[in-house]
């Protein structure tokens, strides 16, 4: 795990050190220029002074500096006075024997006795002398070095101190982040309450907001899972409880009518439970099924007649199938289409309380089909929810499982069809429409057929 504190520290400390080094370099260069200037001025001054003194008395040559003499800051300047005919008229003590002077006036850098010198020369034609004053460049460098050393030494001491300060400050600065982390770490896995970001700094707030939004999503998913589990448990265990209770009634009843009633209820419950099991298996199968399986040309009308014939409908319900559907051929999984049609038809039959008609019809303008029942319809807010697993809406049928529309929707997706539920506009009832986005009219014999969806017959 990388530590933000360590990372910042290793960014800040070199950055600070680099700035220090730049400052030192700058000071070094600046001081050096200044020092050169100051020392040059001193050479010039001294030369002028000597010049004004020269000729006003006897001058004697001082002994030359002995070899190996350590030249300290004392006796930095060496002075020589040469006559035009090349005689050394005078020199200061410690000045080299070799000539420092040059022919023309002004500054020059010269090598004298294997050493670099900075020399200022005054040529006095009237007196017939050259005055040369110089100092060693090495000495100048040492001055600058000492100056810089004086600057760098505290810096070297200060940088560890600065490092410590930066480290502590980072700790304090990152405290809010650690507080948030601490709060989350100390939580149980069940705790999905939002983290309070009221006192968090602005930089952490987006992170807290993102975390809270994630917590919210996880919580919603878990709630949904819990709901499905609860619904599933309820839908599976309630019929079992009914079966067991009725069986115990049938065993305990001495009255024949009571016993027969209980046995009849057991039969009803077994039928419903087997349907629930069948639907659960269909769901499991659909979930495991690849998207395009068993591509075949399927005649919708024929399949629909099969579905309607297989489901016994009470005499009060009249089923009408649009003859145009007999000309509708689909390319796709026959099994999935069968599941869609069967579950939509079961749903329609189940919600028809009173005598009425279920109409299966072609939707020629969109190349799909629809079924309309005369049941109670679905309250608008529930239209989006009824395709959820085990969701049984307000107008639930007493024998429903809450899975039929879920299966219809899933199976429709497998054959690339959209299932849309809406309440009928012309009367009370539900309309379920199946449409294909790659729409090609099923009756129109001209256009090329899409890969999936209605084919021209």
């Amino acid at each position: 795990m990388t530590s933000l504190r360590r990372r910042l520290f290793f960014l800040l400390l070199p950055a600070t050190a680099a700035i220090w080094l730049c400052a030192v370099a700058w000071i070094y260069l600046g001081s050096r220029t200044q020092l050169e200037h100051v020392l040059d001025t001193r050479l010039q001054e001294a030369a002028r002074m000597v010049h004004s003194l020269a000729g006003s008395g006897d001058m004697q040559a001082a002994p030359a500096a002995s070899e190996g003499d350590d030249v300290g800051y004392a006796r930095q300047l060496s002075c020589q006075i040469w006559s035009f005919d090349g005689r050394l008229v005078a020199r200061s003590s410690g000045a080299p024997n070799e000539s420092l002077a040059q022919d023309k006036e002004g500054f020059a850098d010269r090598v004298v006795d294997h050493e670099m010198w900075r020399v200022y020369t005054i040529v006095d034609a009237a007196k017939g002398i050259r005055i040369a004053i110089g100092d060693r460049i090495g000495l100048r460098d040492r001055l600058v070095r000492d100056l810089v050393a004086g600057l760098v030494a505290p810096a070297l001491l200060i940088i560890p101190l600065l490092g410590g300060l930066i480290w502590l400050s980072l700790g304090r600065g990152l405290k809010p982040l650690n507080d948030v982390a601490g709060e989350i770490v100390s939580r149980s896995g069940e705790d999905m309450r939002p983290v309070s970001g009221a006192h968090a700094p602005a930089e952490i707030r987006p992170l807290i907001a993102a975390l809270n939004s994630l917590f919210g999503k996880v919580e919603a998913t878990r709630r949904h899972e819990r709901e499905i589990t609860a619904f599933a448990a309820h839908e599976l265990r309630t019929p079992l409880a009914g079966l067991k209770t009725q069986a115990q009634v049938a065993l305990a009843a001495r009255d024949t009518a009571v016993r027969e009633g209980a046995l009849r209820q057991i039969l009803v419950s077994v039928d419903r439970t087997s349907r629930l099991v069948r639907q659960l298996l269909a769901l499991a199968k659909l979930e495991a099924m690849p998207a395009s399986q068993g591509e075949a040309a399927v005649n919708v009308g024929a399949l629909l007649r099969e579905v309607v014939a297989a489901l016994p409908t009470p005499g009060r319900i009249d089923v009408e199938i649009d003859p145009a559907l007999d000309d509708m051929v689909l390319r796709g999984s026959a099994e999935c289409l069968h599941l869609v049609l069967r579950n939509l038809h079961e749903n329609a039959v189940e919600h028809m309380r009173d005598p009425g008609r279920i109409r299966w019809r072609l939707l020629p303008d969109v190349g799909g089909l629809a079924v309309e029942d005369e049941g109670p319809g679905i309250p608008e807010p529930e239209l989006g929810l009824v395709t959820r697993r085990f969701y049984r809406g307000h107008n639930r049928s007493p024998t429903g499982t809450g899975l039929g529309l879920t299966i219809a929707k899933m199976a429709a997706e497998k054959i690339h069809a959209g299932l849309e539920l809406s309440n009928r506009g012309d009367r009370v009832g539900l309309r379920c429409s199946l449409t294909w986005s790659t729409s090609g009219s099923s009756i129109d014999k001209s256009s090329a057929a899409p890969a999936t969806g209605p084919l021209p017959a």
Binding site: H234, A241, T245, Q246, Q248, I266
Partner: protein, 220 residues
């Protein structure tokens, strides 16, 4: 005993009515929260059997509402969820007991008897008055140790009197215990049952209090 069953599965609900009926319980059935609220507001039940998941909401909301109103009717929850958190939540909402589905009918009946017994402040499962002993679990009556053959309706009338010894029970109260909403009340039925009971357990065992109702005689 009169019990309200709140359950939206018709087969289970029917089974409870028939099965508890065999155990001498008068059962009224509703299948939604709204109907349960209405029934509880209108009728006094000895206990409620309440499914948690209903057509129009959660049985726990009905329960919470009942307790908010200060109604102390014992409630037994039927739940398909049997994880501990779910049970704890149910009990803490004010349930007195719960059973997970599927359950045993005899156990449900026994639990209901226990709830009703506790509510009346009794711990003895047998109802006793003088030499008369009524066993609610078997619906049998003995007088001085001799078994007495009594019909289910007669036993129901006798237990209504014996549950509150010395207290006068009106005819209407006794009728409430005998008949659910779906049953037609036969006129004079209570008088007929009292008459038959007196013949079986002794004329003096049941007193008539003029204008008020009937009372089981306690030995002084």
């Amino acid at each position: 005993m009169r019990v309200l069953v709140v359950e939206d599965d018709p087969v289970l609900s029917d089974g409870l009515q028939a099965g508890l009926g065999l155990a001498g319980v008068t059962v009224d059935r509703v299948d939604s929260c709204a109907d349960a609220q209405a029934a509880l507001a209108a009728t006094r039940f000895d206990a409620v059997v309440l499914d948690v998941m209903l057509l129009d909401g959660s049985g726990l909301d009905v329960l919470a509402d009942l307790r908010r109103r200060g109604d102390t009717t014992p409630v037994l929850l039927l739940t398909a969820l049997d994880d501990i958190a779910d049970r704890v939540h149910g009990l803490d909402t004010g349930a007195d007991d719960y059973l997970g589905k599927p359950f045993d009918l005899d156990e449900l009946a026994a639990r209901l008897r226990a709830l009703v017994r506790r509510r009346a402040g009794r711990s003895d499962p047998l109802l006793k008055a003088g030499g008369i002993v009524l066993d609610p679990s078997t619906l049998t009556v003995t007088v001085e140790g001799r078994p007495v053959a009594a019909s289910r309706r007669e036993v129901a009338v006798l237990s209504a009197l014996m549950e509150r010894p010395g207290v006068v029970r009106s005819r209407a109260e006794i009728e409430d215990r005998l008949y659910g909403w779906h049953e037609e009340v036969e006129s004079n039925a209570v008088e007929v049952h009292i008459h038959n009971l007196r013949a079986k357990i002794g004329r003096e065992a049941i007193e008539t209090v003029r204008g008020l109702g009937y009372r089981i005689r306690m030995p002084s």
